[in-house]
């Protein structure tokens, strides 16, 4: 087999291969040309992501095709998730640039690590075998640990990185143990083969399988940051620089959803009754803990961290329903959530002055008097997170609740509503702070970089526009599950 045929075999993986090549180029360009043009890694990174978005969009309507001896599979779902993984990464890299330059963090390393992480995420949604899936997960996580610690002067960031690393290793270990047990049950690492074995109905009612399931779910729950495996989230979200937080809070969650689909939907299509209960517990705990504890937070980043825990709870509701509509709703929710998180943390990054982050809710006091447009955008984000129409957050919540009601889990939907009422309190408290409180002291307002300002405007308005015209995205999410 010659080189050409080698690549012909690999066409479904074209976006991934392109991204890998571009990552290497970014790395080398940073080495050799950063003296000439310090921003070259940044430009190349964004170019790479744009290219991958285009490639994934082209693949969106193609039927599923596998490559690398069935280890890899490109289907509409993975293409859709790839598009949004890259899109959210693109936004987060955009927000990061000015902060990186201001605090003199190494630009090249940051973007190279980021791209490697994106590559890991793409593998997580496209692999068709447990082993590459796990490798993708690790490839996604390891650069993140480094990115958090990249700001070496910050003690809290190092602490966050250390915590995330240790806890993450623990979770990876659980997941890997679960996978190995699963291998013991199915004698195969291929998802397709596992699906066939599980559909035969034998081998699922034994202790080994039960343990495997629990370990895998625990690993997944950790990566989502769902309670009670959430403990790392507030510390890491707060400790990491905002530009890293907005990256690690958005794109990896999308990838993680794809990862979960691989395990629970594609490999165990018939075992929904077995894992449903766990997800109900995870969802209820996450919604309760996230929303309730967020109420007393004074740190904006920490509040958003708890809010993200609660959002993961809502997203899991879509999975619980176990229907196509539910999976589509979960996908829609995670995409909406990713954009909301991006905008929320981007605000903190934008408002930070000379490397000091504006992370206290007090820093937003009277924002409306200083910068009405930014205040408006924060308001949109907060309303969207609270699920107030006409923002995308409303339709996201609506669709997961609809999916629940369709499978007669009305009590769960009602519970979710009650928690979202509690959640509304702290989101709207931020709006109140911005609009009705006087600014504390007349500190000079930071000059906002133009590109990031435009990006945050686009991002914020996207929440609004997708809320007014949600049907396109909803249909897209539905289509990939048909």
């Amino acid at each position: 087999m010659y080189l050409s045929t080698f690549f012909a075999n690999a066409t479904p993986a074209l976006p991934e291969i392109a991204l890998l090549s571009m990552t290497c180029i970014v790395l080398l360009a940073d080495l050799f040309f950063s003296r000439l043009c310090p921003r070259i890694p940044y430009y190349l990174t964004q170019l790479a992501l744009l290219g991958v978005i285009c490639l994934s969009l082209c693949a969106l309507n193609k039927p599923q095709t596998s490559a690398f001896f069935g280890m890899f599979m490109a289907d509409p779902l993975s293409s859709l998730l790839n598009v949004f993984i890259c899109l959210t990464s693109l936004f987060s890299f955009l927000y990061a640039r000015s902060f990186l330059e201001e605090t003199k963090m190494p630009l090249g390393e940051y973007y190279t690590l980021g791209l490697f992480s994106v590559l890991g995420m793409m593998l997580m949604v496209s692999s068709q075998n447990f082993l590459p899936l796990f490798l993708g997960l690790e490839l996604q996580s390891l650069p993140l640990y480094a990115m958090i610690a990249l700001r070496r002067s910050s003690g809290i960031a190092s602490e966050a990185a250390m915590k995330y690393f240790i806890m993450g290793s623990l979770a990876s270990a659980m997941l890997l143990y679960g996978i190995s047990l699963l291998y013991g049950v199915t004698h195969s690492l291929s998802i397709s083969e596992a699906a066939i074995i599980f559909s035969q109905g034998t081998a699922t009612h034994n202790t080994v399988f039960a343990c495997a399931l629990v370990f895998i779910i625990a690993g997944i729950a950790f990566k989502f940051g769902a309670a009670p495996f959430h403990a790392w989230a507030p510390d890491v979200y707060q400790g990491a620089p905002s530009i890293v937080t907005l990256f690690l809070g958005s794109a990896p969650k999308i990838a993680m959803l794809g990862f979960t689909f691989k395990f629970l939907v594609q490999a165990m299509p018939t075992l929904q009754t077995q894992w449903q209960l766990f997800f109900i517990i995870l969802a209820v705990l996450s919604m309760a803990l996230g929303n309730i504890v967020a109420v007393v937070q004074t740190n904006f980043k920490r509040m958003l961290a708890y809010s993200s825990i609660s959002h993961m709870g809502y997203m899991l509701l879509g999975l619980i329903s176990g229907t196509q509509a539910g999976y589509a709703a979960a996908t829609f929710y995670i995409i909406a959530y990713a954009f909301m998180t991006l905008a929320g943390f981007a605000m903190i990054a934008l408002l930070s002055k000379a490397g000091v982050e504006a992370e206290s809710i007090k820093d937003f006091q009277g924002l409306n008097y200083k910068h009405p447009w930014l205040a408006f955008l924060v308001m949109v984000v907060m309303f969207s997170m609270a699920g107030v129409p006409p923002t995308i957050g409303f339709f996201a919540k609506l669709s997961v609740l609809q999916a629940l009601v369709q499978v007669d889990l009305v009590w769960l939907a009602a519970l979710a509503l009650i928690f979202s009422v509690i959640g509304a309190y702290y989101y709207i408290a931020v709006i109140k702070t911005m609009y009705f409180d006087q600014p504390e002291k007349s500190t000079p307002f930071p000059t906002l970089p133009l590109d990031a300002t435009i990006a945050i405007s686009v991002n914020g308005l996207l929440l609004l526009i997708l809320g007014l015209f949600p049907s396109g995205l909803i249909e897209l999410c539905n289509k990939v599950f048909l």
């Binding site: 915590k163 009612h205 343990c211 399931l213 403990a231 510390d235 007393v296 049907s471």
Partner: protein, 650 residues
């Protein structure tokens, strides 16, 4: 072609919104001149495009155009769409709305000059135009309701435009609250339609009407109602609110606290006729419910007579016209009740022109008298303001329904229709509308004489009224033309052609014999209505020109009826005592016991305290130590394992 019409319609509807946004958001930066230029320009475009649509529909006879533009959402199998229905009726309404709106925009340049809220005013008026256009072009009930509420909001904002004035804010509040009552019925009506027909699309609903003729619904046990009657009556409640029918008419006189151009545009020509339009649009539905038609007929006819009577004792020039509007709306509703939908729409169109003319004329007078509205402090203005006087006179003649002015043809059609109908209450209604024409003539000319004739009663030393600037009188002249001619021009195509002009939109009303404008005028000499009008004008002349002492004599002799009229039949007092005071005391008691003790203290603060308590507890979990976190994870894992392994064991 479809694409073209759809684009034109979208443009017609959205351009005024654009104008509203431009004037509202950028008004302060652009200044007054550019604000009114921008809004007038956008409304002008809408008007021209409406004319083009009218050409397509009336001359080229394109088929009814019904297109969904955007699927907003689907719930329970029912689509909620944005869509447009372009047929003769909606195009006629488009023309009326954009024409009057354009003139009112122009007029406001003069009337609102120097007002601190100048740009805001133009923004609101343009927004109103947008909402009204959305209402008349809707092809489904949801969009209808959207426009319906939109005009309500605009009306509220504009009545309370001078929000520093207590009476204006009170008036706006009253208009809003009374309309809520109507809207409640309207919304229930839409819900009933949704429940019965599983669609909110006009065409889909009308297509199914025949299948539900005998369907009944039991609201009160043992009393089944016809579904169609229920829907019709509920929708009519909405129309009663918006079109100010007894007993929900009380807000319209108060709405005169707003600027006069608003009274002309919203509270005479367009918004208050939305109810008429809606029922005419629903005529395929109403046609099957004689009960509902009877109710409509009686309420409309009562309004036509009794609100007209109040106008006789009013001294505020705008209030006279406001009560006259109530009376004319009563005529239109009576026509609907008599199944003469076309006649109602006909009167709607002519009324829009001459009533807007009268209001704008009154505004011109008010402007000249430095915002004095009391007719007792006017008089003898005809020499000083010839253009205003002439146009006002033409408007008055049209309102009195004297041939050959436009009001004659439309009102004649209504009286004729009420005369012919045989549903219960027809005799009473005929009496009302006939007597009403005498009353109309009397109060109209009373106000004309008191304002423009008689000796001047204003402070001649300080006040020197003069003719208004051209931006004010030009719209008067432009409105005077259709006030005179529109009736004669439209009467034949609307009522006597086969098929009639609006045949595709509303259920046509059968006329006895084909007539022309000329033959109608000839016949009118022999009709009682004509002579009642003449005698009304003559009586007004007697009382206010020939023997000015006469009115005082009548007040003394007829003190009880006078008192009743001054008190407006006690509607306001009744509302105040029963609804306002009653709901206040009810609210008071709820507020004390229910709200403060139970809800505030127990539920709101209690749940808040509980949440904060739990949150502080949850916070303790977050120690910041890795081994605590790991322990938490391990506990979770073990709990899960127990959960799944326990049943397996047993």
């Amino acid at each position: 072609m479809e694409q073209l019409i759809s684009n034109i319609t979208i443009a017609i509807v959205l351009f005024p919104l654009l104008g509203a946004l431009v004037a509202g958001l950028l008004g302060k930066k652009m200044g007054c001149t550019w604000s009114h230029r921008a809004t007038i320009f956008y409304v002008f475009i809408s008007f021209v495009l409406s004319l083009y649509l009218a050409k397509l529909v009336f001359i080229e006879h394109i088929p009814t155009f019904n297109l969904v533009v955007y699927h907003w959402g689907i719930s329970g199998g029912v689509g909620f769409d944005v869509g447009f229905l372009i047929d003769q009726l909606s195009v006629l309404m488009l023309l009326v709305v954009t024409f009057v709106s354009l003139l009112v925009h122009i007029y406001s340049i003069g009337y609102m000059q120097g007002d601190p809220g100048y740009q805001r005013f133009f923004s609101y008026v343009s927004f109103f135009t947008f909402a009204m256009l959305a209402l008349v072009t809707a092809n489904n009930f949801l969009q209808l309701f959207f426009g319906w509420e939109g005009v309500g909001v605009a009306s509220y904002l504009l009545i309370g435009f001078w929000f520093n004035k207590d009476s204006a804010t009170a008036g706006s509040l009253k208009a809003f609250i009374v309309n809520r009552v109507g809207d409640f019925g309207f919304l229930l009506g839409i819900a009933a339609i949704l429940a019965t027909y599983h669609s909110i699309d006009y065409s889909a609903v009308f297509a199914q009407v025949d299948t539900t003729l005998s369907q009944t619904i039991t609201v009160i046990p043992q009393h089944p109602w016809s579904v169609i009657t229920l829907i019709s009556l509920l929708l009519f409640v909405g129309a009663m609110g918006k079109s100010a029918q007894i007993p929900l008419h009380v807000w319209l006189p108060e709405s005169m606290e707003g600027p006069t151009p608003i009274s002309a545009l919203i509270h005479a020509a367009t918004m208050v006729t939305a109810g008429i339009y809606m029922i005419a649009r629903m005529s395929p539905l109403y046609q099957h419910s004689p009960t509902a038609l009877s109710v409509i007929l009686v309420i409309g006819a009562s309004g036509a007579l009794f609100t007209g009577l109040i106008a006789i004792v009013q001294n505020d020039i705008k209030r006279v016209i406001a009560y006259s509007t109530l009376s004319q709306l009563g005529y239109m509703v009576a026509a609907l009740g008599a199944s003469a939908y076309t006649a109602a729409i006909f009167h709607l169109s002519t009324h829009a022109c001459f009533k807007a003319l009268l209001f704008l004329g009154a505004g011109s007078v008010i402007l000249a008298c430095h915002h004095e509205q009391d007719m007792r402090k006017m008089g003898g203005l005809w020499k000083l303001m010839p253009i205003t006087y002439l146009t006002y006179l033409l408007g008055s003649l049209a309102l009195c329904a004297l041939p050959p002015f436009s009001g004659f043809f439309s009102k004649d059609a209504i009286i004729d229709a009420v005369h012919q109908t045989t549903i219960p209450g027809a005799h009473y209604a005929y009496f009302c509308v006939l007597t009403g024409s005498f009353v109309t003539a009397f109060y109209t000319f009373r106000s004309l004489f008191m304002t423009f004739h008689q000796t001047p009663r204003y402070d001649t030393a300080h006040l020197h009224p003069h003719e208004s600037p051209w931006v004010v009188w030009l719209p008067l002249v432009l409105l005077a033309i259709p006030s005179v001619l529109l009736g004669a021009w439209l009467v034949k195509p609307l009522l006597f052609d086969t098929p009639p002009l609006l045949a595709q939109s509303v259920v046509p009303h059968l006329m006895e014999s084909p007539q022309t404008a000329w033959s109608l005028m000839e016949e009118s000499i022999h009709s009682p209505a004509f002579w009642l009008v003449i005698s009304g004008i003559f009586s007004a002349w007697l009382c206010y020109i020939a023997f000015p002492a006469l009115p005082k004599f009548f007040v003394r002799v007829l003190s009880l009826p006078y008192f009743i009229l001054i008190k407006k039949y006690g509607f306001d007092d009744f509302n105040r005592v029963v609804f306002v005071d009653g709901s206040k005391s009810l609210a008071q008691s709820f507020s004390h016991t229910g709200d403060q003790v139970v809800i505030d203290n127990f539920f709101v603060n209690g749940s808040g305290r509980a949440v904060v308590f739990l949150a502080k507890l949850g916070r303790k979990l977050q120690s910041g130590l890795i081994y605590h976190y790991s322990l938490l994870m391990a506990i979770g894992l073990i709990a899960f394992l127990i959960l799944i392994l326990w049943p397996l064991k047993g």
